[in-house]
Amino acid sequence: MFEHIDPNQIQLTSEGELKHFITVEGLSRELLTEIMDTADSFVDMGAKQVKKVPLLRGKTVVNLFFEASTRTLSTFELAAKRLSADVLNLNISTSSTSKGETLKDTLMTLHAMQSDMFVVRHSSSGAAHFIAEHVTPDVAVINAGDGRHAHPTQAMLDMLTIRRHKGDFTNLTVAIVGDILHSRVARSQIHALRTLGAAEIRVIAPKTLLPRHIEALGVKVYTDMQQGLHDVDVIMMLRLQKERMSSALLPSESEFYKLYGLTADKLALAKPDAVVMHPGPINRGVEIASSVADGDRSLILDQVTNGIAVRMAVMSMAMSGQTKCRMETAESFETRL
């Protein structure tokens, strides 16, 4: 299906530090832990009157969104601003590409404006990787979601939320429920959970919303929600991605809710201290009942808060690695002279 490429060749420096953040696949447990540790410090920053640190002062961050998004864009924007960066939001779908400019020309133009970081969201899998590898290798690229491939910052904010509530991953049974087929979030979550050593990962979905060979990722597949939720510690709901559904994959939303919607009754099958997560935006009465979404086991709003902290962590770590790379290049250039 895809040609296998080692993402770490591009997203890590020779010292093993982050310089782009394209996917969690292949990153070590140590690095994922470092991202969460750094993010933890940024969550604690909420106690300050001035919720800002000067790490990215004087740097320019461009949010390049080729696909509509409100939540991800606004949390990336806020994360960059809390790091003191200058932020430019570009909604490419409505700008120069409609005047006929190619992606490469758009990027070279932004590069000429001395941008230091691109946060990229695109409907095609591999877009962020392509930009980091071919177009602007000296600009840090953060993947904010590419097609069905990956949404690494979402996965990491989910991991941080789990760690802040459960402490450790090794005893956890985690269920991912819903539209697995179209979900880059699910893919990134599965990679992160496996790397962090979760005891058991389950996916629960109707057959039409399960990718083929999903078992190869090391998950247990359930098509029955009742069986799948039995004794789990964490329930991660997914949004039904209606905009990506080109054919009739579901009989109806109400049918889906009946079988796979998270209601209080179904939640009762999980462990008594099980927590509920959802990447948002939530469709009440389609994936999740209002009583569960607003209930005391729901961590949906914690996820939003943690999302800003994780994005700050990834942005500062990538900028740190990128800066070191630039200095090495400059030094080797001087030596050649």
Partner: protein, 167 residues
Amino acid sequence: MSSSSLNVEALLKKMEQDLKALLTSTEREDPLMIGIHTGGVWLAERLHKALNLESPMGVLDISFHRDDFNHSGLSLCGQSSQLPVTEGRHILLVDDVVMSGRTIRAALNELFDYGRPASVTLITLLDLQRRELPIQADVTGGTLALGPDQQIKLIGPEPLELEIRQK
């Protein structure tokens, strides 16, 4: 000062006396002691106890405020800042050494993000001179001139010892 006289306990004793005298003369009531990670925290804990201060002490981590991010990148010390309300308080800022003054500048910047303190007093175990910024300690255990290839490190928390290393 020769390296043989680097007795942390003796230096702490002098700091304690000087700080007591300073607090009396300035008539600053209920000061808030804050240690800078990690050596400053160990010293602040000792001074806090010795002076019998009422308010619990705070901890400051300056990783996100360092001025060398563009050279050395991000380095976390593993524990984030834990500060009580600082607005309008008399702060006693404690660190192990003051050398270039850059750490203290970063600490002051971070401190002001938590609120506007009434005053900040700087207390260090050693003054290593070689200042690069106009920052001075108000109370210091002693002054030490290191050779260009020498480094000093506070080992702790129990017992507290100073170790001079060759680079």
